[in-house]
């Protein structure tokens, strides 16, 4: 009788051990409240260490760069099976879609090329996630906390071999202005000719 019971229990055990199962992907979503509160703290921390609005923007920008450098490899491994982009437009599209989607859960609205300057591209986002709950006081009119995101974009592009400067502006929501170095454009043209 005892033997029989022991047999029963062993047969009820799941066949695959937890160590045999593949790693679960886990939840990829994070509470927006937590993100907003953390970002709010980041801004407050930065604000307590600067005197002027431009300084605050630069600080946020620098913090964004730290994030940017850390995520590039991750996303290329995860999404592009470890292959880096070499073409400028492909790279920008990668930023607009993949990077944005993984960071903020949605794509950026638009990617535009400036008419008068071929070095300049615009990434337009109507409502940046970081600005969802932020109302900028009137005495800090020009401040856009999305400079943090601009920092991320700059680090991603620069570390992928497309050195550039990215700034955030209030225009059609928030517009990130991406200004590449001259040689990036020249190199891209050369590649197209081949």
């Amino acid at each position: 009788m005892e033997k029989l019971e022991a047999l029963k229990i062993s047969s009820m055990r799941p066949r695959s051990n937890i160590l045999d199962r593949p790693l679960s992907k886990g939840k990829t979503e994070v509470s927006q409240s937590i993100v907003a509160l953390l970002f709010s703290e980041i801004v407050q921390y930065s604000q307590s260490r600067v005197f002027t609005v431009p300084e605050l923007q630069t600080r946020l920008h620098d913090l964004g760069q730290d994030v940017g450098t850390r995520i590039i490899d991750l996303y290329f491994v995860r999404e592009r099976s470890s292959k880096r982009e070499t073409k400028l437009t492909q790279m920008l599209l990668f930023v607009k879609t993949t990077v944005w989607k993984n960071l903020f859960g949605k794509e950026a609205e638009k990617l535009e090329h400036a008419n008068d300057d071929e070095r300049t591209y615009y990434i337009i986002e109507k409502e940046p996630l970081v600005n969802t709950f932020i109302s900028v006081p009137k005495d800090k009119g020009s401040l856009n906390c999305a400079n943090f995101t601009a920092g991320i974009v700059e680090a991603v592009l620069t570390n992928c071999g497309f050195p550039c400067k990215v700034t955030a502006h209030w225009h059609k929501g928030t517009t990130y202005m991406v200004k590449f170095e001259d040689f990036v454009i020249a190199r891209d043209k050369q590649m197209e000719e081949k």
């Binding site: 409240s33 907003a36 509160l37 970002f39 709010s40 703290e41 980041i42 801004v43 407050q44 604000q47 709950f133 932020i134 109302s135 900028v136 006081p137 800090k140 906390c145």
Partner: protein, 219 residues
């Protein structure tokens, strides 16, 4: 359904936000003959009734227009002094318009800090310990609904009488507060709320409630 105003009182009893939503204008116009049978009080900033109430004109009402011409404080729009105009017999019969004075911000702050001890007294009056204090205060023309959060912030909504579900609306306002005020890095606690997004969202919410009722607020 009409909501007259929303107030937020900080945990130390100061008014940190107020919104006048749908305040009814009470105005009364009447033509007077000489001598004027109202006793007026000539303040440095306004002309108000101090004695004799008639035809809806009450003590405390402020003179807003003379013969259709707006009054700015104690002078008429064309620069004449109100007192000399009203004292001269040749100006009669004269048409005067009175209105209930608008509450100034100072008066609102004053009233909000008066509510604070009332709330505290009410919660101490209770035979049970840890009572909530005033939640609803009813008068014949309005109802005051108060909701105190765990952190001691009071949300107050003044509405017309006989409405149900204002507590839901209060919680929704609390939600907006915790989203658009507390997650804003430029807001410091206990300070007056000056957040554009909060103002907009609150007005949107009130407009929606007035149009479609409280039961339709998305949770």
């Amino acid at each position: 359904m009409i909501i007259y105003g929303v107030y937020i009182v900080s945990k130390s009893g100061g008014l940190i936000f107020n919104l006048d939503n749908n305040v009814p204008r009470i105005e009364h116009e009447k033509t007077f003959t000489y001598p004027l049978d109202l006793v007026l009080d000539y303040d440095s900033k306004k002309v108000s009734v101090s004695f004799n109430r008639k035809d809806g004109i009450n003590v405390g009402h402020v003179l807003v227009a003379v013969n259709g011409m707006p009054v700015n404080g104690v002078t008429l729009d064309d620069g004449r002094d109100v007192r000399t105009t009203l004292d001269a017999p040749e100006n009669y019969p004269i048409n005067l318009k009175f209105s209930r004075p608008k509450m100034t911000t100072n008066e609102k702050i004053f009233l909000a800090s008066m509510f604070y001890p009332l709330f505290a007294i009410a919660s101490q009056l209770s035979p049970e310990p840890k009572s909530s204090g005033i939640e609803i205060l009813e008068a014949d023309t309005f109802t005051l609904h108060c909701f105190q959060t765990l952190t001691g912030i009071k949300f107050i909504i003044i509405s017309e009488t006989g409405l149900n579900g204002i507590d839901l609306l209060l919680r929704k306002v609390y939600e907006l507060y915790s989203d658009y005020v507390l997650k804003n890095p430029f807001y410091s606690l206990e300070m007056p709320i000056r957040c554009e997004l909060f103002d907009n969202k609150l007005q949107e919410l009130l407009a929606q409630v007035e149009k479609t009722g409280i039961s339709n607020i998305d949770k």
